[in-house]
Point group: C2
Chain length 539, copies 2
């Protein structure tokens, strides 16, 4: 027997409609690459989306077509986040930091029909346009009218918008229809595309905003420093519309001084981004004596968050760092570290230990850890296994990639994250490593993540990455790369080794000559430590 | 093109599984009718639900079967809230305050197969059992073993549970499958059944727990004083499991002294119920000088919440009263009154004015107001029209009632609430008129039309009109105006009351002084009773 409830599809146009009606006066603040400020309301935003839908129609965009973006965080990018899927097409966010070969592979693999590109980012697209097989037109986004470009045909975004008509016409959309596409820059092989559905986005928005998630209200001002070409900007563009939060885009300048200025000028209450952003900000705040006057919390993810950073922000700036864990393949939220009821009585040190883990599975996310044979392991905080997840906002495969799709899903239908994790009796998950980043020494595992965290807990250390080097006797041995804080104090390998002795067994410790003090750790296009490059250049 | 996301059905077993794994240690505290306290964890609860599912299987319950409850708020009732739908059957919560005729109509209309009844509530069921056409067995819930009863066949809940096996077997369930059934005692005609689906319950749980909704976390202790036979107890039984909130059932004794004692003993942080409960509590607190030590908010709904009460709780007890509006047909949440960003700067008086309205539409709830011709009216705070709603947790019709279903849904597919409302430019909805023929007493409906008909059925009565008068304790109480036949025989209030006793429950009866013998009932221009004039001149 079926229930007698309305057949109400969970689609992005419903989120937009809510923003227009219920949160009409809430603002979207957007700083351009040049620092120019643009402000409009969700109600005005709606009018722009309607026009953009008509622009897209005129450009020949049909249901299911892929429409690419190559852009920073700003209001025009946000308009594409809505207009493309509201038309039944697929918004494909290209990562502006990808290597050229990856970029052309992705554009051709996705068969993008249009590319919307920031005028400040036009060069890399010009360099590659000859290789794009399906792109029919380039639309350039900026404040300066028709740009000089070799792209052809190329048109100016604002000119198209000025000519567009205002007819409101939202087509019927089925909730499982594709809405967005984002490729992960995989470690091996070609990039793989996560193809989001309207339903997944809608559900993810509800679950991500829950009090034990991002905890967003209409009284918040939220600033995603995470780029919009990263996994839906962690869904903030949809979350803010659903909840009515004021939304602030900081633009292309994500240097600490600029971010702190905008945070305080716009009274940001919540910010989101990868750890490197906040590491830099912490240094800046300590140096300048500035404060974050209105921020109550920051969701930090994309890479392991150092415990020392969580503690420092809390104690020095009264800001709660919530570590989040997720994946492009999870829309992306998987877990958030927060203090559960029983932890409220714990001593502070133990609380910070808990907050330094990946956190508690979010609503709509199921987790399990399994051994090599696929057997489920207990949630005892000790057992370590591959982390599998499932839920309505988790991919069932990759776009047009049968091989990768097959490998990604377990025999019983769970997504294989490739992370190695523990889950304790409080349902707190901790990532011990990427499967590929584990160091196997003398038949035993050493966690590079734990060693990195330990090193980054040192006052004089800015960041650290630990990788494996081949070793004739032990198979693999850890090599620790250490970047000192820029205050000039410096740190020595001896000091690092001495510090590690407190937390690691003797056989796990790197040799003294395997502790390398360097100026900077190379980063991937999404800001994660690029261990591939570290290994290639240094081992 | 479809998205490539997991086909993950939104079903109640997923909520239960989350409670077991993620919130395993969070407690369910349940006070019996006699005040005995029972405590177990969500993990232990899961084991009981598994056993109860096997009990139900043994009793022959199949997918789609209706299984009724006639019970107060307690842990066994909660077990039924999960075990029945997890089996694919439909949990049908019978309102213990219904008049006998309505009750037997509902049981027969729903074709209930089993009735689970509290031992303390066995009498009204015994009195009606002869009229039930489909009930195969009665299961009596209590702490005292096999009860003396004329119900046949009747078995003891705990004896069945003791004999049940522990095999875990959750059948596949499609998300649109029916999960629950709750009848509304409507204004006219027979009661109508809202048939909930798993999907509606799941989505409602997510949206109801959002920060601008009930705002529930795993650090909360939540006490639903709203009965579990009212619209899913406002979804708290599912919300608490999803969020991991500690859940407290106060039992059958909802007198203020008992509630205050339990709130303070159990450190309740959030409570929910109809206004009469809190009106009584306010009196009690003022008299005794007691405080609510841990409560930060109370969701109050089911009838209009007096502004004075909101102000008093805030100023005298630092408790935030959140007014909620909803309907059985909406699973039930429709809106919550909270201060939006712009209202934070308002003077206190204006803030209380805003909080005294029905509030802002919840996520997943769309609203509009229309005139008699169905034309949409502006959100200007002035225009008054019928309130229509739609969303994934709103009914599309009534169970097995084509006529009522047709009337309930507008031509363009919205649910007609029967309420008359305004919506202002801040999206704050205000109910300006309850459907005027209804009297809401202690959170329950009394139909004035039915009472008028009953009185007018007396030989000595010419006509009668029944209206609501405001009542500090019950919100509204019926006042019956009675015009004797002109033959001079006359009629006394005592005779009217005596007559009504045959057809109405005791709590529905007007007080003797509220039965007014008058010479004529004022009429409108089209000859209808003019209740506005009656109220104005006589209350």
């Amino acid at each position: 027997m079926k229930g007698l409830m309305m057949d109400y599809p969970l689609v992005i146009p419903r989120i937009l409609e809510r923003a227009r009606r219920v949160h009409s006066e809430s603002e979207i603040v957007s700083y351009s690459a040049e620092g120019k400020k643009h402000v409009y309301t969700w109600n005005e935003f709606y009018g722009r989306v309607v026009r953009l839908m008509n622009v897209l129609r005129k450009l020949g965009v049909k249901k299911g077509d892929r429409v690419a973006t190559f852009a920073w965080n700003h209001h025009r990018h946000l308009e594409l986040y809505y207009a493309v899927p509201c038309l039944g097409a697929v918004v494909h966010t290209l990562n502006i930091r990808l290597f050229p070969e990856q970029l052309s592979y992705i554009v051709n693999h996705a068969e993008d029909k249009l590319i919307f590109v920031d005028d400040s980012l036009i060069k890399p697209i010009e360099a590659l346009a000859g290789e794009f097989k399906t792109v029919e037109k380039y639309i350039v986004m900026g404040d300066n009218g028709n740009p000089e470009t070799s792209l052809s045909p190329a048109v100016d975004y604002e000119s198209l918008m000025a000519d567009a008509d205002d007819t409101v016409d939202f087509p019927e959309i089925e909730e499982n229809q594709a809405s967005g596409l984002c490729y992960t820059s995989g470690t091996t092989g070609n990039p793989k595309g996560a193809l989001y559905s309207h339903r997944a986005i809608f559900l993810h928005t509800l679950m991500a905003c829950l009090p034990d998630g991002m905890n967003l209200t209409d009284r918040d001002t939220v600033m995603p420093v995470v780029p919009m070409f990263h996994a839906n900007a962690w869904s903030v563009p949809y979350n803010a519309a659903m909840m009515g939060s004021r939304l602030v885009f900081a633009g292309a300048n994500v240097m600490p001084d600029n971010l702190v200025r905008i945070i305080n000028e716009e009274s940001v209450t919540m910010a989101l981004g990868v750890p490197t952003i906040w590491t830099g900000m912490l240094q800046h705040l300590r140096k300048t004596g500035e404060k974050l006057n209105t921020v109550h919390s920051m969701l930090v993810g994309g890479a392991a968050v150092p415990r020392a950073m969580i503690e420092a922000f809390k104690k020095e700036f009264d800001v709660n760092i919530m570590q989040g864990w997720g994946m492009t393949e999870m829309t992306p939220l998987g877990s958030v570290a927060r203090l559960k009821r029983k932890m409220l009585d714990w001593p502070e040190d133990r609380q910070f230990d808990a907050l330094a883990k990946a956190g508690v599975p979010s609503a709509c996310v199921e987790m399990k850890i399994v051994d090599d044979a696929g057997n489920e392991l207990p949630w005892d905080g000790e057992s370590t296994g591959e982390l599998l997840v499932r839920g309505p906002a988790v991919v069932s495969g990759y776009y047009n990639d049968a091989e990768a799709s097959k490998n990604a899903i377990s025999a019983d239908g769970w997504f294989r994250t490739g992370d190695v994790a523990t889950i304790d009796e409080n349902a707190v998950m901790g990532i011990s490593d990427r499967t590929k980043d584990l160091i196997k020494s003398g038949g035993e595992w050493i966690s590079s993540v734990e060693m990195e965290n330990a090193i980054m807990g040192m006052d004089k250390v800015l960041e650290s990455a630990v990788v494996a080097r081949p070793d004739p006797k032990w198979d693999e041995r850890p090599v620790a790369f250490v970047v000192p804080t820029p205050d000039g104090g410096g740190v020595t390998p001896e000091q690092v080794l001495d510090h590690l002795t407190n937390e690691f067994a003797k056989w796990q410790l790197p040799d003294l000559e395997d502790i390398r003090i360097i100026a900077e750790i190379p980063k991937t296009s999404v800001g994660k430590f690029d261990k591939k490059v570290l290994r290639a250049n240094n081992l």
